[in-house]
Each structure stands twice: as C-alpha cells, then as structure tokens.
C-alpha cells in the first residue's frame, strides 16, 4: 500500500472524471444532449453534433453491434491473437473495444454484443463486450 495521503475529492470534476467514477461504481454512462437529442460518446463538455453544453448523463443500455472488427495477430508469447473492434451502441455512438468470451476469429461485423465493465486495481476501468447468446 502507498503511504501517499489520499487526495481530497474533486468538488466539480470534468466529464471524463465523472465517466470514470461511474465506471468505478459499476455504471456505464454516456451523455445525452438536451439541445439536439443526440447521444454522445466519448464524454465531452460540448455536444459534437450541435455544440450545446446541455449534456446530461444517462445509463447506457449496454446493447450494441460490432460495426467493424479485426484480429490483431500476435505471437503466443506476446499474448496471442486478439480481437479489436468498434462497437456501435444501440443509442448511436461508437467506441473502440474488444469482444471477449469467444475466439478472436469468431467476432463478425453486425454481431449483437453487450457491454461489461472490466479493469482491476487503481487502473481506470473500461468497457469490453460479450457476444449475446444466439436465440
């Protein structure tokens, strides 16, 4: 454990810190613009669609589809092949992520996926996805 004193909480954090704090508390939040009704990811101070500062936090559905994907080829000693993809959330915005729980070469464009928060210790948490079970 570190002997460093715990810093005082920041009273009025910016969008990124609010996002990270929500993730750390187990919630995947994105922004909704009251100015133009767009959903926004990644967290911003101004809406990239209309420029409004009226961005409010909403719980993301966590549902999405794979917009595009690649298999990153790596030697086994470097961790082996892994998936990297861009997921389009049901609300509209996209984010870079990876699909876990299935082989990297089984991840396909248009596959339905669900968000999951991962990360351990002091490192910032982040969002990965799992393929939805076939109906």
């Amino acid at each position: 454990m570190s002997d460093k004193p715990t810093p005082a909480p920041i009273a009025n954090p910016g969008p990124d810190m609010i996002y990270q704090q929500a993730l750390a508390a187990g919630m995947f939040k994105i922004q909704h613009c009251a100015g133009c009704n767009a959903y926004v990811f990644y967290p911003r101070h101004l809406c990239p669609e209309c420029g409004s500062a009226k961005l409010e936090w909403v719980q993301a559905s966590g549902k999405g589809t794979v917009y595009t994907t690649t298999m990153v080829r790596q030697r086994p000693e470097a961790g082996g092949n892994k998936n990297l993809c861009v997921v389009e959330l049901a609300e509209g915005p996209r984010l870079m992520s990876r699909v876990e729980g299935i082989a990297a070469d089984e991840v396909k464009i248009d596959m339905a996926v669900t968000a999951e928060i991962v990360g351990s210790g002091e490192e910032p948490k982040f969002i990965v996805f799992r393929a939805e079970a076939k109906q």
Binding site: T68, R94, M96, G119
Partner: protein
C-alpha cells in the same frame, strides 16, 4: 479557367531527397539537411536564401525551430502544423499564401526521419478511450478495410493488386527499397498482421528525408528548372480516433478532393498521375474512390488487372509508394517530390509520358486528416 484561391500563385522550383531505405548512423536532422542540400542545389540557391520554413518532424516538439537552427536560418515565416503524414501537402497551401502575400521569398518544406535505423515506430497520440485496447496504427486501417469488404465486397485480391502495382512501379525506380518481383499470390500468402491486412498490405518503415523549395509564381521562371505550379489545394478532417470516424469507408478526401480540383479548374480525368498516400493498400482504394477516379465501393474493381500499374490506365504512386519505395514515418513530402519529378520529366524509366498534371493526396493519423493538392506545369496555368 478558374483563378480562385492559390491557383498558380506559387511554384515548386527545387526538390531534394536524401539517401533513404536504410541509412544507419544518420539522425533525423542530418538526413533533413542532406535533402535540403540537394533541394537547394536543384533550385540553384544557397540554403541561406530560405526565409520561410515549413516542417513537421517527430519526435521533435519544436521542429521548425530545430530545422532553422540546424540550417543556420532566421526565417521570417515559421510554420509547423502537425497533421501527421499529410502535413507536407498542407504546407503547400500555407507556403503559397505566405509567398503570395510577400511574407517570405523562398519557402522550404522539409521532413527527415531515421525511423528504420533508430527502430522508432511511428505511432499516434495516446487517446484515453482507445489506449486500453492498445491499437497499433495498422489496426484502424484494418478495420476500415474490413468494413469496406463487408459493405462493398472488396476482396483481399483487390488489396493485393495495389501492392503488386506499387511494386511494379518500384521496379522501375532504382532508388526504391523493394524491387524484387511480386505477384498477387505472393501478396495473398504474406503474413497476416491485422485481418485483412498482411505484411505486404503495409507500408515500409525506412529512413529518409525530403525537401521542397517554393517561390512566388512570377519569380519561378528565374530558376533553372521547369516550375511546378500549385493549382489547387484543400485540407479536411473527419476524426482523430478511428471509432469516431462516421463511415469507415468514406474518408474526408471526398471533401478535400473536390475542393482542390475546383480550385484548379480540373477534374480527376484530367490528371496525368495520382500520388496517393499508401500507408496501407486500402488507402489507395479509398482515395481513388473519394477523389472521384471511380465510384464509392468500386475501388477494388478499378485497381484490378493492373489499372494503376505501369502501362495501366492511371499512373498511381509512380515512385513505388510507401508500400515499396520508402516510408520514413510521415511520407507526405515524398508524394510532392515524385509529382514534381514527373512533371519536370525527370523520372527516367518510370516517367509518365507527357505528364502535365498531378493530384497529390496526403493522409494523416488513422485516415484522420486528408489534404489534396493539384500540381501542374506552366502549360496548365
């Protein structure tokens, strides 16, 4: 004929390319200075005549200051906007504007890198919402290629055509790094890096430097070489992080191209050659589509059967490109250099007969910044 914007206001009067490929023992700035030495000799000027410096050199934080100090210059115009590999095509606009406004008389655009010998790999900014996934530059391009295949049925064979065409041009360029014969089968068998891109779908990592000397159009005739005029130029951007790119099959070249062609008063079919930043084979296909050489989604079919190879319908990347000639991190300046060499008729075995116009298209980041310029000989003014 259009006279808008910077059309015909300034010209390239000197071109220099350093030793390239593998040049161990030379720093970024030493290679840069060798390119400047050659560009000045080509233009018939002394380096001290340069009074405008336009440079982007990674990892230098203040590359314009470093270049100026290294060359012992006190330029009146210092410009170093970092757009990635397209920066140098972008500098054409700002150098032309500065020259036309009389802010400087002799502009230098330059770049140097020892990326190969120093084993320093080019990389983008660490961005907070992508860095947990550790994307390499190639991965974003691979995802663009995957999406293009999904939407338009583009095949790996189409990507291979681009690599094979680049190699065929490189075989005509004694200075190109990769000159061994290459077939579609070879390209398809190459080691996969990020599906669907193989090693041969990726540009080289080389050492090398380039330098371009520009002056105002009315002074250009006083120099020893055939001037190469800037007829049109435009920059556009669509995103920084690949996940923020709205449509991974359409780059901002679809906006920069039409603007640059409109300024030039010319269209894609008027071009003698196209120099398209081929960091990866998918780039060439995307830019052929976005610049208007073919319809969206038809780039794969367009490049099939050697269309862009020597003897094909459209001369593309005649030096061998980033894929087979050289690519020292940020390649944009070499697009300009090759276009100028072609328009001066000095390209030797790879010369495009009667070349009078060239479109030069730079790409930066992960398909992020797109800058198009149209260049031409005096006859096209």
């Amino acid at each position: 004929m259009s006279t808008q914007g910077i059309r015909g206001k300034a010209a390239i009067v000197g071109v220099g390319i350093s030793e390239h490929g593998e040049v161990p023992g030379w720093s970024h700035f030493e290679l840069m200075a060798q390119a400047v030495e050659r560009a000045c000799a080509d233009a018939g000027i002394k380096s001290k005549d340069i009074d405008g410096v336009f440079a982007a050199i990674t990892p230098s934080g203040l590359p314009v200051s470093m270049v100026s100090e290294y060359l012992g210059l006190q330029p009146k115009v210092l410009e170093g906007t970092m757009l990635g590999g397209s920066s140098f095509v972008n500098f054409l606009s700002w150098a032309a504007l500065a020259l036309d406004a009389g802010l400087c008389e002799v502009a230098l655009i330059t770049y140097g890198s020892n990326a190969r010998s120093s084993k320093r790999r080019p990389g983008g900014d660490l961005v907070p919402y992508e860095s947990p996934f550790g994307p390499r530059l190639v991965d974003g391009y691979a995802m663009a290629a995957a999406r293009h295949m999904y939407q338009y049925g583009t095949k790996r064979e189409h990507l291979a055509e681009v690599a094979v065409a680049a190699r065929a041009w490189a075989r005509l360029n004694p200075k190109a790094m990769m000159r061994d014969p290459l077939t579609i089968e070879d390209a398809l068998k190459s080691r996969m890096i990020a599906d669907p891109l193989t090693l041969l779908d990726c540009c080289l990592i080389t050492d090398g430097a380039g330098a371009i000397i520009m002056t105002r159009a009315e002074r250009a005739k006083d120099y020893p070489n055939k001037p190469v005029y800037i007829l049109g130029a435009a920059a556009e951007h669509s995103h920084m992080q690949i996940a923020q790119m709205r449509d991974l099959t359409v780059t901002a070249a679809a906006r920069s191209g039409p603007r640059a062609f409109a300024m030039a008063g010319l269209k894609p079919t008027d071009m003698s050659l196209a120099m398209l930043y081929d960091a990866f084979t998918i780039n060439t296909i995307l830019f052929l589509e976005d610049l208007g050489f073919c319809k969206k989604g038809e780039g794969g079919a367009f490049v099939s059967g050697g269309t862009i190879a020597p003897g094909g319908r459209l001369a593309v990347n005649t030096n061998g490109g980033g894929l087979s000639c050289l690519h020292p991190g940020m390649y944009g300046i070499f697009l300009i250099a090759e276009a100028a060499i072609q328009l001066r008729g000095l390209a030797g075995e790879r010369q495009v007969a009667g070349a009078a116009t060239a479109v030069v298209h730079g790409n930066g980041g992960t398909l992020s910044t797109q800058v198009t310029a149209v260049l031409g000989t005096a006859e096209t003014l």
